[in-house]
Symmetry: C5
Subunit: 89 residues, 5 copies
């Protein structure tokens, strides 16, 4: 999983019907996580708020692990990181 910060949300009215009801969050991955800055869109079904640091699972883990095995989802927020931790040490 990678660590990122929730920086926004995204609305998409015209979409694949299996995505209806999902919240799409924009996550900015932490610098240590990639050679460059990167943003991605992840679904959120654990209630992450803007500004929170989260773990994002990518690939088939996102849809299968979030009980939507047939949905076109390749990234999901799967945990909110407890405050006060430093993952760059």
């Amino acid at each position: 999983m990678i660590i990122g910060k929730v920086v926004g949300s995204l609305f998409s009215t015209r979409k694949n019907e299996k995505l209806v009801g999902n919240k799409f969050m924009i996550v900015e991955t932490e610098k240590d996580m990639f050679p460059g800055q990167k943003r991605l869109v992840a679904i959120d079904n654990i209630g992450a708020g803007i500004g929170e640091y989260v773990m994002v699972a990518q690939g088939s883990a996102a849809r299968i692990g979030c009980d939507m095995p047939d949905a076109p989802i390749d990234a999901a927020i799967v945990g909110i990181i407890d405050e006060g931790q430093d993952w760059s040490k």
Copy 2:
């Protein structure tokens, strides 16, 4: 998922037979999404037009989520982003 802009379409007459009937769109990923510019080819079955910003799902999510589990598809447009949003803030 990543965010990109539909910049063109692509025609392929000689192709895997399971791809017949699909529309292939060229999507340019937004700069924030990758350390560098990048283009990819995604199938589109929600009717995205050139110039629209879209969410693209990659990997097994593309074929399974678009009801073509046996097709050689690794990227699909799964949502058109509503206008007036800013994902680079």
Copy 3:
């Protein structure tokens, strides 16, 4: 999928037995497709020739979409791009 140019073929006599009978092509991905130049080896069962531009599917889509779900294949040529198109505009 990504776009690349077929630049050569590759022979491998000692290989996983499920790969027997496949043609291995060297594909050079187009510059727009990645932040840097890249080559990869893809199987070809649609008859792409050297110099042709092709679509390559990666990941599980390659083996499942090409009817070799049990073979160790992670990239396949799935379409030959019709001439006269410009995917860098």
Copy 4:
């Protein structure tokens, strides 16, 4: 698999329920493994300690290989590398 060094652990109280009971470790991939430095979060069920060098499996191999096929896990520590080996030669 890639080689990395365990540099820390991570706590996440609010998380996907299928992740409950797992240990999350921060792994710093070795420089030879990527064009740039990179960190990722991997589950650990073999008891790797901070400072140890480990093999990390990514993708569907992580959840399926660790007997959690339905969990949103995309990276797992799958082996601790014996001391005294040099993988940069």
Copy 5:
């Protein structure tokens, strides 16, 4: 698949039990294959020797294609490249 050179092997005594009996090889990917140098660990069940050039399959293809669908394996040597070929032309 990508092309790489076998540059070493790796021992891991404490590992996931499904990995027992496998040989772990360090493969250095060829420069043309990535924007930067990269090494990875791949299992080998076709008998590649140090110094040989090989094809490596990544992702689910590695474990499924090598008849270990339940093992935490994400990279496997699947073919030894015949001598005298040039994949950088």
